[in-house]
C-alpha cells in the first residue's frame, strides 16, 4: 500500500521531469544523426561534463531564489568577484606568475576557496538584507547589487583578467577522479545536497511555503525574513562555487566573464519546471533541463553555428517553454 503510493508519487512528480528527459533524449538523437562522428566522440561528451557544471550551479541558485518568488540577478557578479578575490590572494602570496604561484600548497588553495565562498556568503547577506529587511523587490535589489559586485571586481582588477592560478586550483576545473570530471562531481554533490535540503528539511519546505504565500507563511509563524536571508546567502555561495570552477577551468578571472550565463541560468530554471512566481521547483528538473540544453549547444557548435546563434536559440527556447507552460496550465 505505502509502497504503491510511494511509486505513484514518484511517477506523478516525474511527469514533467520525464518530458525533459525525453527532450534531452530527442536532442541527443538528432545531434547523433546530424553530426555523428563529432558529437558521439567521447571527447565531446566528456568536455560537456567540464563545461556544464558551472552553469548548472548558477541555474540551481536561480531555482532556489525563484522558489521563494524572488530572483537573483547578481549571481554572475558574485561568481566573478569570488574568483578575482581568490586570484588576487594567490598573486599576493605566490607572485603574479611562475612556480611560486603554480606550486602554492593545499593550505593556500583551501584559503582561496574559503575566500571565494566567503565572498559569496557576504554578497548573499547583502542581498538578503536588501530584500528581507529593507524589502526591496528582488529584481531591483539584485540588479543593483550585481552592478556593485561587478564594479568592485572591475575596480580591483582595473579591467584586464587576472591570469594564472595555482595548479591545485586549476585541478578543480580540469581534473578528474577516475573517469569523472571534478566539476561534474562538485555539481552532483551540490545538486544532491540542495535536493535533500529542499525536500527533506524544514528549511526547504518552509521556502516552498513562503514562495506559495508569504503572508500566510508569516501567520503560520515561519521565520520568513530569516529564510529569505538564508536563501540569498545560499544563492551567493552557489554562485561563488560556480566562480571557483569557472576561474579554475579557464585559469583566469575577469569582471565580465560569463555574462550570457545569466539568461541561460534563468532559462534552465524555468525550463526545469520552476515557477518564477514562487512555490514550485526541483533540482532534478534543473539538472534535466541543463542536460538538454548543453547537448543542444554542443551539437550546434559542432555544426558550426556561432555562439551568438546558440544564445538566440536559448532565448527562443525560453519563450517556447513559456508558451508551452501556459498552454498546459490552461488545458488543466
Amino acid at each position: 500500500m505505502t509502497m504503491r503510493r510511494w511509486l505513484q508519487n514518484l511517477l506523478a512528480i516525474d511527469a514533467g521531469l520525464a518530458r525533459l528527459i525525453l527532450l534531452a533524449g530527442v536532442i541527443f538523437g538528432v545531434m547523433a544523426v546530424m553530426v555523428p562522428d563529432k558529437f558521439l566522440r567521447p571527447y565531446n561528451l566528456i568536455s560537456i561534463t567540464y563545461i556544464a557544471p558551472e552553469l548548472g550551479l548558477l541555474a540551481i541558485a536561480m531555482m532556489v531564489a525563484m522558489l521563494t518568488g524572488g530572483i537573483d540577478l547578481s549571481v554572475i557578479g558574485i561568481a566573478n568577484l569570488g574568483g578575482i578575490l581568490a586570484g588576487l590572494f594567490f598573486h599576493a602570496v605566490g607572485g603574479a606568475h611562475g612556480p611560486g604561484l603554480t606550486d602554492l600548497g593545499v593550505g593556500q588553495v583551501a584559503a582561496g576557496i574559503a575566500i571565494a565562498i566567503a565572498t559569496g556568503a557576504i554578497a548573499g547577506v547583502i542581498n538578503g538584507v536588501l530584500i528581507a529587511r529593507l524589502r526591496i523587490t528582488p529584481i531591483l535589489a539584485t540588479l543593483g547589487s550585481g552592478q556593485v559586485f561587478t564594479g568592485i571586481a572591475l575596480v580591483l582588477t582595473g579591467g584586464p583578467a587576472i591570469v594564472g592560478f595555482p595548479d591545485g586550483w586549476t585541478m578543480i576545473g580540469n581534473g578528474a577522479l577516475g573517469v569523472f570530471a571534478v566539476p561534474l562531481l562538485i555539481l552532483l554533490a551540490v545538486a544532491g545536497a540542495i535536493a535533500g535540503l529542499m525536500s527533506r528539511t524544514p528549511f526547504g519546505l518552509n521556502l516552498v511555503l513562503i514562495g506559495t504565500n508569504a503572508k500566510a507563511a508569516r501567520f503560520a509563524g515561519l521565520r520568513t525574513r530569516r529564510a529569505l536571508l538564508l536563501t540569498y546567502v545560499l544563492t551567493g555561495v552557489l554562485a561563488s562555487l560556480a566562480g571557483i570552477i569557472l576561474s579554475a577551468r579557464t585559469n583566469a578571472a575577469k569582471s565580465d566573464y560569463g555574462v550570457s550565463y545569466l539568461l541561460q541560468a534563468v532559462l534552465i530554471a524555468v525550463l526545469g519546471g520552476t515557477d518564477p512566481a514562487g512555490g514550485r521547483g526541483s533540482v532534478a528538473g534543473v539538472i534535466a533541463a541543463l542536460l538538454a540544453l548543453m547537448l543542444l549547444a554542443s551539437g550546434m557548435q559542432l555544426m558550426r553555428f556561432s555562439n551568438f546563434l546558440v544564445d538566440a536559440v536559448w532565448g527562443a527556447f525560453l519563450l517556447a517553454s513559456i508558451a508551452l507552460n501556459a498552454w498546459q496550465t490552461r488545458k488543466r
Binding site: 530572483i71 536588501l130 529593507l134 524589502r135 526591496i136 523587490t137 529584481i139 531591483l140 535589489a141 540588479l143 543593483g144 547589487s145 550585481g146 552592478q147 556593485v148 559586485f149 561587478t150 564594479g151 568592485i152 572591475l154 575596480v155 582595473g158 579591467g159 503572508k215 508569516r218 501567520f219 555574462v259 550570457s260 545569466l262 539568461l263 534563468v266 532559462l267 524555468v270 518564477p276 512566481a277 553555428f305 556561432s306 555562439n307 551568438f308 546563434l309 546558440v310 544564445d311 538566440a312 536559440v313 536559448w314 532565448g315 527562443a316 525560453l318 519563450l319 513559456i322 508558451a323 507552460n325 501556459a326
Partner: protein
C-alpha cells in the same frame, strides 16, 4: 496632472539633483563650464529616450530588459539596409528603425498579454533571441565612420548655440536634445492627456479594477511594450548617427542604467506611479553622476559601483514609500 504625491517626489528629486550639482561644482568648478554642461545634455539623449519607454512599461506594472537589444538591432539593420540599398535621407531610416523596434516590442506584448508570463522573464528571452540572431545571422562587424551614411552623421552633428571655447575649439549644444525633449513631451501628453495613457496608470494601479471599468488590458500592454520598442529603435539609430559608428555589440548592460534612471525618477516597479518629468530628472541625475566621476577625479572603473549604488538607494527610498504594511 495634479497629484500631490507626484509633485512631492519630483520636488524631492529636483532638490537632490541641485544638491548633487552643488557638491560636484564644489569639488571641481569646471563642472559649471558651458562645454561640460552641453556634453552632459548630449549624454542624456539616448538613455533618456529609452527611459521614456521603460517608464511607460513600468507604470503599467511591467519591466523591460530587452530594449537595448532591440535598439542595437534597429540601428544595425537600418544602417546595413541603407548601405546595401544605397538609401539616402534621414526620415525613412528613422522610420524603419522605429518600425523594427515597434515590431519587436509587440512580440514582448504578445507574450506578456497572451501567456500572462512575468515580463522580466519574457524580455530576457526576447532580448537574448534578438541579440543572438543579430550577431549570429546578420554580422558582427562594426560599421565605421568611413562607411556610415553621411546624412546620418550630418544629422547627428546638428548643433544649437555654437560657441568657441577658450582654447579655440568649437563646441555647441547638440540639436538632438530637441528630439529628446520632443519625445518627452509626446510621451507626457500620451500618459496624461489620453484615455489610453490613463489606462496605463489604471492597469498598473489596480489591474482588476481597470478591467471592471472597461479598460482594455491587451491594448494597454501592446501600446506600452510597442512604445518602448519603438523608442528604443529610434534611440538606437540616433546613437549611431551621434557617434558616427554602428557597432552590433553596443548597448550591452545599458538596461541597468536606464532602469536605474527611471526608478530614480520616482516610478514604481509595482506600477501605477511615475511621471515624465520625474524620469527626465532621474536620467539627468544618473548621467550627471556617472559623467562627473572624471571631473571629481575618480577612476571611471567606479562607474558601475555608482550606478548600482544609485539603483539600491533609489529603490530603498521608493520601497519605503510603496511599502504595503503586512498584518
Amino acid at each position: 496632472m495634479t497629484f500631490s504625491f507626484l509633485r512631492r517626489s519630483e520636488t524631492a528629486i529636483a532638490l537632490v539633483l541641485l544638491v548633487a550639482m552643488g557638491l560636484i561644482g564644489l569639488v571641481n568648478p569646471a563642472f559649471w563650464d558651458l562645454a561640460n554642461l552641453f556634453s552632459l545634455a548630449r549624454s542624456n539623449v539616448i538613455i533618456g529616450i529609452m527611459a521614456l519607454g521603460v517608464l511607460s512599461v513600468m507604470i503599467s506594472g511591467g519591466i523591460d530588459v530587452s530594449f537595448p537589444a532591440f535598439a542595437v538591432a534597429a540601428m544595425y539593420l537600418t544602417i546595413r539596409a541603407m548601405l546595401a540599398w544605397g538609401w539616402h535621407g534621414v526620415v525613412a531610416p528613422f522610420a524603419l528603425a522605429g518600425a523594427i523596434g515597434l515590431a519587436l516590442g509587440l512580440v514582448n506584448a504578445f507574450f506578456v498579454s497572451t501567456f500572462g508570463m512575468i515580463p522580466l522573464i519574457v524580455t530576457l528571452g526576447t532580448g537574448a533571441l534578438v541579440r543572438g540572431a543579430l550577431l549570429g545571422l546578420v554580422g558582427t562587424s562594426q560599421i565605421n565612420i568611413d562607411r556610415m551614411p553621411q546624412e546620418l552623421i550630418d544629422f547627428g552633428n546638428l548643433t544649437l548655440l555654437s560657441r568657441i571655447g577658450p582654447n579655440g575649439t568649437h563646441f555647441g549644444l547638440s540639436a538632438m536634445i530637441l528630439l529628446y525633449l520632443l519625445a518627452a513631451l509626446l510621451v507626457h501628453l500620451f500618459l496624461t492627456r489620453t484615455m489610453l495613457g490613463r489606462g496605463v496608470y489604471a492597469l498598473g494601479s489596480a489591474p482588476e479594477a481597470a478591467l471592471r471599468v472597461g479598460f482594455n488590458r491587451t491594448r494597454v500592454l501592446f501600446t506600452v511594450y510597442g512604445l518602448a520598442g519603438a523608442l528604443a529603435g529610434l534611440a538606437g539609430l540616433l546613437h549611431g548617427s551621434m557617434i558616427w559608428l554602428a557597432n552590433p555589440r553596443d548597448f550591452v548592460g545599458l538596461e541597468l542604467d536606464v532602469i536605474a534612471a527611471v526608478v530614480l525618477g520616482g516610478a514604481s516597479i509595482f506600477g501605477g506611479r511615475g511621471s515624465v518629468l520625474g524620469t527626465l530628472l532621474g536620467v539627468f541625475m544618473l548621467v550627471m553622476v556617472a559623467n562627473s566621476l572624471i571631473i571629481m577625479h575618480i577612476d571611471t572603473t567606479w562607474q558601475r559601483i555608482v550606478v548600482g549604488g544609485i539603483i539600491i538607494a533609489a529603490t530603498t527610498v521608493t520601497s519605503f514609500r510603496d511599502r504595503r504594511q503586512l498584518a
